[in-house]
């Protein structure tokens, strides 16, 4: 499981995360909610080992092992995958190449090209298209598919609903729940309260770099007004 303890992280002089602590248990979907600029992406990047930001203090441990200071590829090798903000597909690669470029890099992966295409039949139809030629929904699917190919146990998702039509958001929520059934843990950061509530077991609310509220699934439904107040108009 993932344990973030008292994490301070920022860009140059600007401190963004000021002592964030959170946990993701095996098989759990945890949502971190917050408005723009509250540190959501900084949190995801810090866990993945991406710099900037620089981690000032605090610890991130995964299955009992510290991750702070490891390079991103070492962290990915420990079965943590990322679906980044804006998807960040490769314009020069075809859909298939996004999924096969890691092939043979590690021992047998539970996820194969066929399995990802089974989950997203739309991608199979588009397998020879390049990253830049896909619709918003397809881009989201491919970003998830690419992350699955490293055979993750924990998936970090940065605003998966960003820029998607409501029907696509729903489709993606279904996929996230499917992945949970596969045994994946998921940490997703979201501005979209409804989308997060549809899938999350637990929710943290992030405000100016600190966790100001947390609640589990049972409490969630009763607290939407609190969450609304925290997040502003949604």
């Amino acid at each position: 499981m993932l344990e973030v303890r008292d994490l301070h992280s920022g860009y140059g002089e600007a401190q963004v995360l000021r002592g964030v602590s959170l946990e993701v248990a095996p098989g759990e979907i945890v949502a971190v909610l917050g408005r723009n600029g509250m540190g959501k992406t900084t949190l995801i990047r810090s866990i993945m080992g991406l710099t900037p930001p620089q981690i000032r203090s605090g610890s991130i441990s995964w299955r009992g092992e510290g991750l702070v200071g490891l390079r991103p590829h070492d962290i990915a090798t420990r079965k943590i995958a990322i679906v980044p903000q804006g998807r960040r597909l490769f314009p020069s690669l075809t859909v298939s190449e996004h999924l096969t470029m890691l092939k043979g890099l590690r021992a047998k992966s539970g996820w194969t090209l066929e399995r990802v295409f089974g989950l997203f039949p739309r991608l199979a139809e588009r397998r020879h298209h390049r990253g830049g030629q896909l619709s918003g929904g397809e881009r989201g699917m491919l970003a998830v598919g690419r992350a699955l190919m490293i055979d993750p146990e924990l998936m970090l998702m940065d605003e998966p609903s960003e820029g998607l039509a409501p029907v696509m958001v729903q489709h993606l929520e279904g996929i996230v729940l499917d992945l949970k059934r596969e045994g994946l843990s998921i940490l997703l950061v979201e501005q979209n309260l409804y989308s997060a509530l549809a899938v999350a077991d637990r929710v943290y609310v992030l405000e100016t770099g600190q966790v100001v509220h947390q609640a589990n699934a049972a409490e969630l439904a009763k607290q939407t007004d609190v969450l609304f107040a925290r997040l502003g108009v949604q």
């Binding site: 980044p84 490769f90 020069s92």
Partner: protein, 285 residues
Amino acid sequence: MSAFQLLNGLTYAALLFVVASGFTLIFGLLRIVNLAHGALYLVGGYIGFSIASGTGSFVLGGLGAMAAVAAIGFVLDQGLLRFVGNNELRQVLLTLGFAFVLDDMALVIWGGDSFTVPIPHMLKGGMHVFGVYYPTYRLFVLATGIVVFAGLWLLLNHTRLGALIRAGVDDAEMVEASGVNIRRVFLVTFLLGSALAGLGGLMGGAFLSLYPSADAEILVFSLAIVIIGGRGSLVGVGVGSLLVGLLNTLGQVMFPELAYFVIFGPMALLLAFRPLGLFGRATPA
């Protein structure tokens, strides 16, 4: 232009392609302004010359030149370039200085005389093509250029390493976050680009001969080719090499006084209207 001159242009283009394709891997894809590429060509030629004359084997000379220049590229990349990051001005100054050092070391080791790499017996003499009697060796250079083009095209477009190189050029951080040590991928690319300069040195050393300052012309032509073709485009390097090779030959025959202008005049015009070159794309992000 006669068939003989046309073949001269084509074979020169093939040599330029081998060198410039290495240059486009480094300058076009990795975005490292490596002004030592010409020096790598020249040193590769000298080393290939020494090995080929010592062992009597042209093939060993080629392999040796590629391996040695890849090793020099390793020192340049890991020992020096990694400390200057993406700062292009620093890259220019560093690699230019490295080129001077290499050139001077070559002067100490091989002296100022000009050398011609001995070519194997079976490539000596000539053969009849397109109605002219033409040196076999230069046709071999043309064939090698085509083989290198095909090999690089397959590598970049149809292998996993090629996909990783292209993905890394698009977004290195995302490749890292997918579990790939992108620095290693880029290092392999740099070494391959260097090795191609070494191979070009051996091949060019057999018909243009090797002498101090032979690196400058090759470097300038490689730059012109990659800029005309578009940074990072293999097809662009192919077309750019053909243009520069043919224009250079044409220029020397028809306007010997203006030979350079025949290449760089059109290049300046092209860049005025297509700043990214013929096949160049805007860099993502």
